[in-house]
Subunit: 216 residues, 2 copies
């Protein structure tokens, strides 16, 4: 198995965590986001969308999109599971993950920030306001879900780390890169602390990867 990714990519981080929780070995193939290697022909031949990550499984099939890759890993390597067994629980965990995947993270990615600065002319203050506008409501919604749903425990769904925790942790890190702290979100903070207590999460942190700087 080959994971095409980059230390800075939070979608790659999610797949790293899932692979480690399941103790699956994958060879890391670094695609350099910063020099825009993902936009080149070589990577497009692997993933025509040109986004990270992509996972090449052992028969050579290339999977793309972090959510789809992690659902695949959970189906192909079911132990330990990343989704609960009961159907409504699965929907809630997937729903929490999608709040990050669909409503928060896509507004913060480099191509959006680049367009805001290069094409629209926002300065760094304007970009920070943009990030706050779209990163924080996801935390606010998830904090309420965690406070009001009986399934909230050490992790998003009782006491086992899973899909929602992986996506939530990726957003904690990503928003953190832009100065969004967790003080207003005590439940999320506790869950994130539980996550980083696990080697699968801590060793997957973007700044712990080869090629990463000491801080951003």
């Amino acid at each position: 198995m080959h994971l095409y990714g980059h230390w800075r990519s939070l979608a790659t981080y999610r797949v790293r965590v899932a692979l480690k929780l399941k103790a699956i070995d994958a060879k890391i193939v670094a695609i350099d986001l910063l020099s825009k290697e993902h936009l080149g022909e070589r990577y497009h031949a692997i993933n025509p969308q040109g986004l990270l990550p992509a996972l090449e499984i052992d028969d050579g099939t290339v999977l793309f999109q972090s959510m789809a890759i992690i659902e695949y890993l959970d189906e192909a390597f079911p132990d330990p599971p990343l989704l609960p067994i009961d159907l409504a629980g699965r929907a809630k965990v997937r729903g929490l993950a999608q709040i990050i995947a669909a409503d928060a993270h896509p507004l913060m990615v480099p191509r959006v920030r680049d367009y805001l600065t290069e094409n629209i002319g926002l300065d760094s203050y304007g970009v920070k306001k943009w990030i706050d506008r779209f990163a924080l409501p996801a935390f606010e919604a998830i904090e309420i879900f965690l406070r009001t749903q009986e399934h909230s425990g050490k992790y998003c769904y009782f006491d086992t780390p899973g899909l929602a925790d992986i996506f939530l942790a990726s957003h904690v890190i990503g928003a953190g890169f832009f100065g969004c702290g967790l003080d207003p979100f005590p439940r999320i903070q506790k869950i994130y602390e539980a996550c980083v207590g696990l080697e699968a999460f801590s060793s997957s942190h973007p700044l712990s990867q080869a090629g990463a700087p000491a801080h951003i």
Copy 2:
């Protein structure tokens, strides 16, 4: 079952199609996006994220996020299936759906367009350029996938409509509202035509819903 939604919401459209493909009856509860009813207390008590759609299932549990809701429907009502059986196929179908759910649609939603016009001051030409920048690459990537993957058939995955078709059709409609046509994407165009040949898709179209105008 109660589906909270709005005629204009493309995420609600996706769930309408899935319900109809599976012949599941759900009572529609209209939440008026245009008067911002989704931002009010009454709807927040149902879905704390304040986004559409939400699906209240028969035991009173409220599910949120269109992808999570449709995965639930596929697990709870497996016939006809919206995902293939083989694991790599499931990952590819989910991946195509996520291209729309995570990389294209979130950049076109009202709260983003409102921020671009009200806070940043873009005019309608600037908004159209923004839409083109973020709506079209999803079509471009999916068109290449459809051209190069053996599973491309009458629909995204062979000859059965499923999860990827639902998300793709929602984006065809959504991008169409902003004047993005399908001429550069002949495979997508053929699949969309196959979709609208099905009553589940045609009767779910935003402009066919109660309260919708004749055109946008």
